[in-house]
């Protein structure tokens, strides 16, 4: 059995999110949804009134780890740092922290988004691009 983590349709559907961090922002309660949702309950009552907006491209590191036993597509890059970053109140992403000295990692570190190659399906499959963060 072969294991493919990205297929063309699944990958391309979320290009606006992967490449441009387009999220849903509710004009009533200010809540962010990343990715945008079809249905969401608004804190101000009823359904959220969503407009599509890009998330801010910088934020703060809330937690992190250094992965030594990754999934097969990431084997060549181990060990690497990955963390949860808050880009806007309530808008958080899980992303690798690239080009960083592990000793410099700390909760509260300021980071910004950088466009990177995330993974690829072998040497002949689709290239999967997306977001990582770097220390600022």
């Amino acid at each position: 059995m072969s294991f493919t983590s990205i297929t063309p349709a699944r990958y391309a559907r979320y290009i606006p999110q992967r490449y441009r961090l387009e999220a849903g922002s509710c004009s009533k309660c200010g809540k962010w949804y990343f990715p945008p949702r079809l249905r969401c309950k608004c804190e101000k009552g009823g359904d959220c009134d969503i407009t599509i907006k890009a998330l801010p491209d910088h934020g703060e590191l809330l937690t992190y780890t250094i992965i030594h036993t990754p999934s097969s597509q990431f084997i060549d890059q181990k060990p690497f740092a990955i963390g949860i970053i808050e880009l806007a109140p309530g808008a958080r992403i899980t992303a690798q922290i690239a080009d960083v000295d592990f000793d410099e990692l700390e909760i509260g570190m300021k980071v910004r988004i950088e466009f990177r190659l995330i993974q690829s399906v072998g040497s002949s499959g689709v290239l999967g691009y997306g977001y990582k963060v770097i220390k600022v």
Partner: protein, 350 residues
Amino acid sequence: MTEVGIVGYGAHLPKRRIKVEEIAKVWGADAEGYKKGLMIEEKSVPGPDEDTITLSVEAAKRAIKRAGINPVEIGSVYIGSESHPYAVKPSGTVVAEAIGATPECHCADFEFACKAGSEAMFVTYSQVMAGTVKYGLAIGADTSQGAPGDALEISASAGAAAYIMGAENLVAEITHTYSFMHDTPDFWRREHENYPQHAARYTGEPAYFRHVVGCGERLLETSGEKPENIQWFVAHQPNGKFPLRAGKMLGFPREKIEQGWLINLLGNTYSGSSPLGLTAVLDVAKPGDRIMMVSYGSGAGSDGFLLTVKDRITEVQNITEQTRPMLETGRIYLDYGTYVKFRGKIIRNH
């Protein structure tokens, strides 16, 4: 005639580097000899998560910032490279999506060895001149490979330079262009080969100098411009010596070449080479300065540009990353083993 030229420019370099000594020692080569002969000390190395596309996206974002435009107004995206990640599927579509220029956008990838980037610049400039696009994005970017143990391994490096061309709010007007080529087998790569081949000393006079100097001379002739009136000279940098010599032959002293001469710390970024040199010049140029850029692509040919820097440049130079600071700070040095791992030169099972 409408003034057409650069509205915004941007550069991006990977953070990793490898020193010449580190490569030379593995192959039993004379590091000092290489450093003296090529005038290179170290070169940039893309990480396993960096390629022509990712470098282009970051450079393009900086160009858009300096241009101060809404990316949706970009009518064309052309990327020139020798290391497009896909052989079939343009780098441009990913970049166009990443910057938000789709769906109304022309796009194609360019290829002409190291002058693919300057060709992208020329075509974009021409489209704006013709009025078919309002703003166009032209990028020269590469993550080129040199065969292990070959002299090209010492110099082949990675970087991207991006230009938004337009007809208003220019930071630099392109006043003259000239393109000069002959079919010249100095450097090539056949389909399915991993690494390019080069014709050693034939790559010098009959190839690089014939075209860079030939193009430069004709550009000066057709424009009626004199080197004394040109403040900055940027040429393609396959090694440190060639652009200095070509510049001298055209009448430019070293001081006019230094700012755009990045090779000693960057290596040869192929399609990014002269375009990156130009970004370094634009970072410090003053309104009214004249700049001459001559690219070179093996195969072979050169594209020459004469530019006049406009007042608006002082508003944008400092608003995002500049090229020399990126070149000189925040560097992460690799050993040869990590370098070949990152560059995929180790034989694996698939």
